[in-house]
Amino acid sequence: MSTAQKVYTWLDERLGLTGIYNVVLDRKVPKVNWWFTLGSASLFLFVMQGVTGIFLTVYYVPSPDHAYDSIQYIMNGVSFGWLIRGIHHWGATLMVVVVSIHMLRTFYLAAYKYPREVTWLTGVVLFLATLSMGFTGYLLPWNQRAYWATTVGTEIPGTAPLIGPLVTRVLRGGADLSAVTLARFFSVHIWFLPAIIAATIGIHIYLVIRLGISSIPDKDD
């Protein structure tokens, strides 16, 4: 046995790598088409957003006084800052597109039916969380567009009967958009939502592997 094999066997005994390989990679999958790649494309985009997002937090400062300037600095002062921000910016748009089309493909191919109902449920959570990422991230550059879009965006739930005004206050952390709002949106954008999404993706993909990917329905289905 070569050393590499020995190391592998040692690890396998403890980690069960072969088992993982058999279950995750070596499984049989019905013949499917290109639309079925969009789930993993969503995952890829989520990871990209995570990586570029982490780099952005190195320089980004979530306070009304500094947020705008810190973004200017990322764009002009940090080497390849413009690239990181560009990827994060366009990645957000692309992720919404890809996740939505992925959802539509599971709908049109009836993949949400027995036995994959729970996969669909976790999917809806992912969809809403992705949109919320877009909403909270939009405020962070603290520019005119961000400020006024969020002002209007947080007004919308305020029109609900009874609890509306309360919801708006909670979203804003006060009567108006302020440093509190920015801090809140920042924390939701970089901690709460990514944590929810990561955990939900875990369940989602566990279910996909456990149940197998659906086959394309034929005339008799």
Partner: protein, 421 residues
């Protein structure tokens, strides 16, 4: 779905799986192609389209037309159909029901069949919803009015200083002078004769922090006559512009700050070759902008002489024309030479322009007062005759110093000759 149906599905699915492919490598290979394609797309978008630069948030500027991220536009558009008392239907009921239905879909849609031909209702409903969302999004994109004149944006420090210089020239020169030197205010309604301390010296620059400067401009000092400039206080300037203004003052007047070379170049008067005819566009406009616009724009006391464009410079004013091509006796030139004429007093009222700047105006007028650089290039460069008066001076004046000058400092002597014909 009953047990039997479920079992039938599972059996069929099992067979489909057996006939299928291995996840690794067949499926994952496709997945990676698509993800890699998306990655290239992202690089392309980030590099060639980039992220639009926006002005800093300005809570006081409620004229800004809010625009949500494009994937929320359809919601925004939908709300327009629920005005007044019905608003909450659009804001809460419809989105709420939609989300609920999305969650409950597998339980609401009890139809056991999967092929599209047996799910016509579900497919039609979803297709109508998707078409509606796409339609509303496009409608919103088309109907949202364009943003009214976005404030100019500066990204680099030297751009910011240049923007600050422009802003200063327009807003502040009329009272504080072209270089912040202060002095007696002339030609400003309400403050005629008030004497301002300089704001470009150490007294101000060493004692005012950037924040104080920002606040002085933003709130003004109404008690002393300094008007507020922040939009929130009735002025014309957004936060980005005031910040640029502060950067300009700091880097130009504070001797502890070093002006970036790029910005220095920009601030210098445009270069003019020996025989070149200056043009309005290249040479005159920057001077006018820096030394005259502050007063010679609408809403100021200026005999209706506006100087914001070539046409205005040439034709407006109570004593128009103030510029006559080829005529050094034009009002503008005479006033620059600090003559008191029918059109008014010396210009700019408080402090003479530097002689080399006046010379540019003169060469321009003599050369035919061309507008564009091309027109200027076509005009033969006239040899600038010395100003008319000195032509007639025939005796040569020789000054002989009778005592040697002993001073470590450079000595300058000024000789003024007045010739009476």
């Amino acid at each position: 779905m009953n047990q039997e149906f479920k079992q039938k599905y599972l059996d069929k699915y099992y067979k489909a799986k057996q006939k299928g492919v291995k996840f690794f490598p067949d499926i994952i290979y496709k997945d990676m192609i698509v993800s890699f394609g998306l990655f290239l797309l992202l690089l392309g978008l980030a590099t060639f389209v980039g992220v639009a630069n926006e002005p800093k948030a300005d809570p006081s500027d409620s004229s800004y037309i809010p625009r949500p991220e494009w994937y929320f536009l359809f919601l925004f558009q939908m709300l327009k159909y629920f005005p007044g008392n019905l608003e909450w239907i659009g804001t809460t009921v419809i989105p709420g029901v939609a989300v609920l239905l999305l969650f409950l879909l597998p339980f609401v849609d009890r139809n056991p069949y999967r092929h599209w031909s047996k799910r016509k209702v579900a497919i039609s409903v979803m297709s109508v919803v998707v078409a509606g969302i796409v339609g509303l999004t496009m409608l919103a994109a088309v109907t949202t009015p364009p943003q009214t004149e976005a404030a100019p944006l500066a990204t680099s420090l030297s751009e910011q200083i240049a923007l600050g210089q422009d802003t200063y020239s327009i807003q502040c020169v009329e009272c504080h002078g072209a270089d912040g030197e202060g002095g007696e205010i002339i030609g400003v309604e309400g403050l005629e004769g008030v004497v301002l301390k300089p704001i470009n010296d150490q007294d101000v620059m060493y004692t005012f922090t950037d924040e104080t400067l920002y606040n002085v401009v933003n709130f003004g000092q109404p008690a002393q006559g300094m008007p507020p400039f922040g939009k929130a206080y009735g002025g014309e300037l957004g936060p980005g512009e005031i910040e640029a203004l502060v950067a300009f003052m700091r880097y130009t007047w504070d001797d502890r700050a070093e002006l970036p070379p790029e910005a220095e170049q920009r601030a210098a008067p445009p270069a003019l070759a020996e025989n070149e005819v200056p043009s309005y566009e290249v040479h005159i406009a920057p001077l006018v902008k820096r030394y005259c616009i502050s007063c010679h724009r609408p809403g100021k006391k200026n005999n209706n002489y506006l100087m914001q464009s070539y046409a205005e410079v040439m034709t407006s004013g109570d004593h128009a024309p103030n510029v006559v091509a080829g005529d050094l006796g034009s009002n503008l030139i005479r006033m620059l030479h600090r003559e008191e004429i029918e059109a008014g007093g010396p210009m700019p009222p408080t402090r003479a322009l530097k002689p080399e700047l006046i010379a540019i105006f003169e060469r321009w007028v003599l050369g035919g007062a061309p507008e564009t650089a091309e027109q200027a290039a076509q005009l033969a460069a006239p040899a600038l005759p010395p100003p008319a008066e000195t032509l007639q001076v025939s005796p040569v004046i020789t000054i002989t110093l009778t005592a040697p000058v002993t001073s470590p400092l450079p000595v300058t002597a000024t000789l003024t000759v007045t010739v009476t014909p």
